[in-house]
């Protein structure tokens, strides 16, 4: 007995070492199969909090790449969607992503510059939209860049529809507030209320039908007047615009040639 105790004492360090290692290996083998304890893993709320902080920080650094990827994915999805629509309607529309390089909002003749040009297949007259809605129309095309006339330009005349009844009218801009435009040519017999959605008409080749343009903010009619005065809150916030998509209608040329031939 005594010798046993002596041996134990003599090797006590080694025994503690052995016991701890055995415990560790039991943890390893059990935990590798399937984690059991939520306290002893990253499910623990303190540890989870730490991981969240780290990922919040690293997310910030990856924001740019993430953004690019999302834009690409968005364009892909939109192209797939329009390919599907094409099989139904016969239109062929493709989208091209672009970044807004420069933009003005406080003039009468505003414009924005995008980083796509002739080499990307951009042609004068193509529509430009973003995720919110219609942005404008391509005016000048350079090799690498293009200039877009936005809806907030005093010469804008965009053909629109009131979504609920399909009535066609024209969107114009009075040069005052870059968040609001006016809807012209809505006769007094048409039923229109504030809150109605305005979409692109699909007439012409600039935009396909149904892209959001704005929401009726207020509508009034003056005594003895036969047309409404309609104020539209634009869907697109030009002050914050960064990425856009150019609408490329495969049949644009054909349609324009046909329509020109009528004159």
């Amino acid at each position: 007995m005594r010798t046993l105790l002596k041996i134990l004492q003599r090797y006590s360090n080694f025994l503690v070492f052995l016991a701890l290692e055995v415990a560790a290996f039991m943890l390893i083998t059990r935990n590798n199969a399937y984690p059991r304890s939520s306290i002893l893993s990253t499910a623990n709320s303190v540890v989870a909090w730490q991981h969240e902080q780290v990922s919040a920080i690293s997310d910030y650094f990856h924001l740019h790449e993430e953004n690019e990827e999302l834009i690409k994915e968005n364009i892909d999805l939109r192209n797939q969607l329009s390919a599907l629509e094409a099989t139904l309607t016969g239109d062929s529309i493709r989208y091209m992503d672009a970044k807004v390089v420069q933009m003005t909002t406080n003039r009468l003749h505003n414009y924005l510059t995008i980083n796509r040009g002739r080499k990307d297949g951009i042609v004068r007259g193509q529509g430009v939209r973003n995720a919110d809605g219609a942005v404008g129309i391509i005016r000048t095309v350079g090799r690498n860049y293009s200039i877009v006339i936005p809806l907030i330009h005093t010469q804008t005349n965009l053909s629109c529809r009131i979504a609920k009844n399909g009535y066609i009218s024209t969107l114009q801009w009075d040069g005052k507030d870059c968040h609001y435009a006016q809807l012209a040519d809505v006769a007094s017999h048409v039923e229109v209320n504030s809150g109605d959605t305005i979409i692109t008409s699909g007439l012409g080749t600039v935009f396909p039908e149904g892209i959001p343009v704005g929401i009726v903010e207020s509508c009034s009619i003056k005594e003895g007047d036969s047309y409404y005065t309609i104020r539209v809150r634009l869907e697109v916030d030009y002050k914050r615009i960064r990425f856009v998509e150019v609408v490329q209608n495969g049949h644009q040329q054909e349609r324009e040639e046909l329509e020109d031939g009528l004159d």
Partner: protein, 167 residues
């Protein structure tokens, strides 16, 4: 060890652990650089305690790290191992026994002994962690590479810490 020293050791542990989880765990150098700098606290622990206390502290520190890495047991096993080995190693490296009753520092044991002490223990610790995590011989080449790269960085950090502390 008196209570102010305990408090100092614990304070250093907290700071090093924060650096570990927020900085060193985030390094991504082709997936081979995972320095476990937290072993600094274990290596710099005075050697005046009983060996079993030493190993229990190692187990606790390792387990804490395991919780952050979701690798229950792996760091614990490695830390207990180096805590067991280290007093024999120090006995071999340092001839003057009285020196060991002070803190483990460049001043106390000299640069050569410190270098050997840190390199050997860090290498053993990292090798054990990576080998246990890989859990097969198939990735042994990669485990060695990982160990080499990671322990180099850990050793540099620990030696740098000691150099600064000596001033």
């Amino acid at each position: 060890m008196d209570w102010t020293n305990w408090l100092k050791q614990f304070g250093r542990y907290v700071v090093v652990m924060l650096l570990q989880v927020f900085l060193f765990d985030q390094l991504q150098f082709f997936g081979v650089c995972h320095p476990y700098v937290y072993v600094l606290c274990l290596l710099m622990l005075p050697i005046t305690m009983r060996p079993s206390t030493d190993m229990l502290i190692g187990a606790g520190v390792g387990l804490m790290m395991d919780i952050f890495c979701n690798s229950l047991g792996i760091h614990m096993a490695s830390c207990v191992l180096i805590m067991y080995i280290r007093r024999y190693l120090l006995g071999l490296l340092v001839n003057d026994r009285d020196r060991l009753n002070e803190q483990i520092s460049l001043h106390a044991i000299g640069f050569i002994a410190m270098l050997q002490y840190v390199v050997i223990l860090v290498f053993i610790h990292h090798l054990t962690v990576f080998a246990l995590a890989a859990w097969s011989w198939r990735h042994f080449g990669f485990v060695l590479l990982e160990t080499f790269v990671s322990s180099t960085l850990t050793v540099l950090v620990i030696l740098g810490y000691n150099a600064l502390r000596n001033k």
